[in-house]
Amino acid sequence: MRTTLPLILAFISGIIMVVSFFINPEQKVLGDISQELLIWASIIGGFSFLLGAVSITRVNWRSYKTRRPGWGYNLVTIVGVFMMAIPALWPTSWLPESMASLAGRNAGSVYDWFFLYLATPMSQTMFAILAFYIATAAYRAFRARSSQATLLLITASIVMLWRVPMGEALLRVIYDGLPEIINTYIMAGINMSVQRGIIIGAALGAATFSLRILLGIERTYMGKG
């Protein structure tokens, strides 16, 4: 039952969604049922955040309690989670009027302050590191080892030039219509056809995988290998 019931549920709900795709939306039974399923999926997704909050607290608390190496960071994580969550969830009616704007998630609240002045700069800093990493990766990996690698590095260099105004100005010095040629033949030509191939291939792979899940052949989502 533990294995069979999830398989039956997966099959039925999957079939409903597939069939509803081919049924006229004015045909209310399947249309309403599929809409209900979508709402349920959204609600279940919300519960997963609760699960996440419990998980992160439990995992980090355990590491802190047992004083594992780096336990200080675990403590900071727990403090950070509650520091943002509690003000966001605090009912505004429990605070005096002068302080009501501090609760909730609106502009000017404690949550918003932490998001704007802590979370956002930290995320952007990590993202900005990519600029440095791309430079080292390009220096190390873009070597003309073979004809394909040479083609790759020449194309990459041309597209990098095309993508910025300074580079575009340089390309126009060589030939006035060169940026447009690059756009037409490289980006909207070779690039587009290759991307289409990858998208179609990946979509077929995903469709096969979905069919396997629907028919109960693939059970990894249940934790079965």
Binding site: F21, P25, G31, S34, Q35, L38, I39, A41, S42, I44, G45, G46, S48, F49, R105, N106, A107, D112, F115, L116, A119, T120, S123, Q124, M126, F127, A131, F132, I134, A135, T136, A138, Y139, R140, F142, R143, A144, R145, L153, A156, S157, M160, L161, R163, V164, P165, M166, G167, E168, A169, P179, N183, M187, A188, N191, M192, Q195, R196, I199
Partner: protein
């Protein structure tokens, strides 16, 4: 040879230092270059221009806070463009962290410049989990997926949402994203419900979207900071993207120079090894 050793064992910290210098110089000595409009951006601008004035447009903030440097200028310029046309704007996001807060802040800031009233001219629906459910569910009923807006106000209390019930009342979808959600917007909303849409994405994502533009599923693409700068120029609202593109220009040149340097070292090393093998 010393140069071969230097190039092949170049410490990555020197590369980091060079990138840092390339970013600092344009900040200290601002540069400006002529920004030519690419067909994809022009197509996006024309598509938004062709949206009837005073119609309702769905603007998505499917973005994480880390890529705000590229995506926020796009969203701001889109809002300027739409409010200037007197369009009503409904915003939503499929990203839990960042999306609702950024949408709230940016939309209110730009709306204030055009005297737009919340609930009448624009609404922020916020975030709901499971984006597939959201994208499909909005086609049947926006209110069943979003009973309230981002602040918890019932949609029935917002005048704009009295007339906007499903995708049918939305004239155009302007997607601002920094992740693969654009694929889902195209495959679920455009393919199944035929909604016209365009996408403003980070430069890493832009090459993939040419496939959707080629098939007519997207009416235009803004790709990265250059796309944002071009759009700012077209809408006559120069902003952060126009400033940032000059920094990006110098870094691109540096990376090309580093590629050249790396290959120089590679060829010199290979030649030295061949000489050694020949004796």
């Amino acid at each position: 040879m010393k140069i071969i050793t230097f190039l092949s064992t170049l410490n990555r910290r020197w590369v980091y230092t060079l990138v840092w210098i390339a970013v600092i110089i344009p900040l200290l000595f601002p540069m400006s270059f002529k920004i030519n409009t690419t067909p994809e951006v022009q197509s996006l601008y024309d598509a938004v221009e062709n949206v009837p004035d005073s119609s309702t447009v769905l603007l998505t903030f499917d973005l994480w806070p880390n890529a705000l440097a590229e995506t926020e200028p796009m969203a701001r310029t889109a809002l300027h463009h739409l409010f200037r046309k007197n369009c009503n704007v409904v915003t939503l996001t499929t990203i839990p962290l960042g999306g609702p807060s950024v949408a709230e802040r940016v939309t209110r800031e730009v709306a204030a410049l055009y005297d737009k009233k919340y609930g009448v001219d624009y609404v922020n629906l916020g975030y709901k989990p499971n984006y597939v459910s959201v994208l499909r569910g909005l086609a049947t009923s926006i209110e069943s997926i979003y009973p309230t807006d981002n602040s918890g106000t019932m949609l029935s209390q917002l005048p704009l949402m009295h007339t906007v019930k499903t995708y049918d009342q939305i004239a155009f979808i302007f997607i601002v994203a920094d992740n693969g959600i654009v694929d889902n917007w195209v495959s679920i909303v455009n393919a199944q419900f035929g909604k016209k849409m365009c996408a403003a994405v980070t430069s890493v994502m832009a090459p993939k979207l040419y496939a959707y533009m080629g098939s007519g599923q997207l009416t235009g693409i803004l790709g990265g900071m250059k796309g944002a700068a071009e759009y700012e120029q077209l809408v006559h609202k120069p902003g952060l993207a126009t400033i940032g593109i000059s920094i990006q220009s110098l870094v691109h040149f540096l990376i090309i120079a580093l590629i050249g340097l790396g290959n120089l070292g590679f060829f010199l090393e290979r030649r030295a090894k061949q000489k050694e093998a020949r004796g």
